[in-house]
Subunit: 342 residues, 2 copies
């Protein structure tokens, strides 16, 4: 019960109390170097008793590693992000790393500001989920060999370590599934055309059509933006076509949700009257009614994989990170049926 000014209890307090040098305390705390069993026990007892916990700033300064990684995201609005973050999180927890969150709010200057801060020694590495344009400062990192990996690189021809998903194949699979059910007139609600992932999904759709001798009809392709209201509008437009498409492929689940509203609002039943398929498989996709058939993008795994790559990069700076594409997969639920007339 001897009390310092209520402040922090340091490694020296432990050393004094346990009657060892504080280097020894450091050794037992970090489980590194030679320490006799007896000493170890004694030190640990003191640590518990007086409630010592290492100062991470100090450790970081002295050891050169902060055990913190930074995550740069444009926003947190979609469960798309949450899923990825869940993956990151679990991997980080396993490695005893902490997460610094930087939200850019799509404002370029904030991104650059981050760079400065981040490089300020606070983080050992960086995970980046970048909006449309491949950000300028990315090259800065690459140059400085600062460990960082991109997630779902929507940008252009980037070469560094990154993880994404097989968007083209996913779009292809979704469309083929619809065709196999018997659909011939399949509408598409695209994502933001500035993102390569959106374009890839569209290409998959078009190719699947062609491979099945259905020539893509430009009228059936509506340009969305990955958000729900636009999905609603696009679906409405699609539904006003004559003849009406019997199925709709939305480039992401959120757009599909908008489409669901439009379909219902037009008095039609999802599945029975109009088939609908999404992309992503965010948690809500299985929660809506009817449960949404969709192309699963392994968001959680993408986050986890990226994190593992980053940690690896941090550990072995020599390592040249690869570019990983995780497979998408079709998740069949209840929003697609053979076309009505069939």
């Amino acid at each position: 019960m001897s009390s310092q000014p209520p402040g922090r209890v340091t490694i020296e307090d432990v050393a004094r109390e346990a009657d060892v040098s504080y280097a020894t305390v450091s050794r037992v705390v970090n489980n590194k170097g030679y320490v006799s069993e007896e000493t170890r026990l004694r030190v640990n007892e003191v640590v518990d008793r007086i409630g010592y916990v290492v100062n991470r700033q100090a450790r970081g300064l002295a050891g050169g590693k902060s055990q913190v990684i930074g995550l740069v995201v444009p926003d947190l609005d979609s469960s798309y992000m949450s899923e990825i973050i869940r993956g990151i999180d679990s991997e980080l927890a396993a490695a005893s790393y902490d997460l610094m969150l930087y939200t850019t709010r799509h404002r370029q200057n904030r991104e650059s500001a981050h760079v400065a801060t981040l490089t300020g020694g606070m983080v050992d590495g960086l995970l980046l989920i970048l909006p449309t344009a491949s950000s300028e400062y990315l090259t800065t990192f690459r140059e400085r060999k600062f460990p960082c990996v991109l997630i779902d690189h929507r940008g252009s021809n980037e070469t560094g370590p990154s993880v994404g998903a097989t968007n083209y194949q996913g779009g292809y699979d979704a469309t083929r599934y619809l065709i196999e059910l018997g659909h011939k007139r399949i509408g598409m609600i695209t994502g933001n055309p500035e993102m390569v992932c959106a374009v890839d999904r569209l290409k998959g759709y078009q190719q699947a059509l062609r491979d099945n001798n259905i020539s893509p009809d430009p009228d059936l392709i509506r340009t969305g933006n990955f958000y729900q209201p636009r999905g609603f509008e696009c679906a409405r437009e699609l539904l006003s076509l004559n003849p009406v498409p019997t199925a709709i492929f939305a480039a992401n689940d959120v757009s599909a949700f908008g489409a669901m509203e439009a379909i219902r609002d037009s008095g039609r039943r999802i599945g029975n009257d109009i088939s609908l398929i999404g992309f992503d498989d965010i948690p809500a996709a299985s929660n809506v009614y009817p449960p949404l058939t969709t192309v699963r993008q392994p968001l959680y795994e993408m986050g986890a994989t990226a994190t593992r790559m980053l940690l690896d990069l941090i550990g072995n700076p020599a390592r040249k990170g690869e570019r990983v594409l995780l497979p998408t997969s079709l998740v069949i639920r209840d929003s697609c049926r053979p076309p009505a007339g069939q």
Copy 2:
């Protein structure tokens, strides 16, 4: 172009290059103490030229403040969280603080683990969004006078600094609005009854009924859990009642979304046949169709306010944080109409 091993450029590099002591560099960088205009210019020039940025670990160690605050959340799944975080974020950015994110995933032990880490000097203060039970370790913080403030304290009788919303009043307002439209049979989908906010909303509903001489009918109250599937089920139950309620009050927007599906699925029109009102006003509420009338909970402001309180607490440890309740407000959109027979 003299190059250190590619490593970090430190304050000493600047000092040497600018031919001043490094204390002086520190002064100009922090804009503190006396520095001649001439020196300031020279130092700044060098800083820019060789690309110096302070090491925040070192600064933290030396200065005692890390300029980082921690945020503990159970999850990031709902846009409920994102909204709050937006508020936090903007306030933090304004104060040049960074955000450390800790996700507990509802696992108690992870919460405790955080405590240890967090107290490890990495953060100057803590923002807590706690799940149902007021966590044990909260008292630990209070005791140690570690700056922290609770957001939307769903727990019990906590006394420390916190910010929440007027849940009772919100529930009351929602119900009164429905009554004023002419509804008499109003169903309620509650939130998780373990959270005080859910209970408060229910109480408001009941009191509004009573104040208008409508005796609350237990059959009309369905116990939800704040999630969409349960909202769907509750609404379905409500719709199978005889007579059917003409309006439904859902304790949060996400539950209301579930109800929307159930209503549509039963062949009824939202608004025209069944009025529906939510709670929270998450962004999606205005994106669904029809736009959802709801009780706005100022999530963004709650985050911002809590952050301001925390920063204040950090600055003046003497300050005793109060308990703030932000007002809810009715947001009338398009999901409520007078009852059909009217």
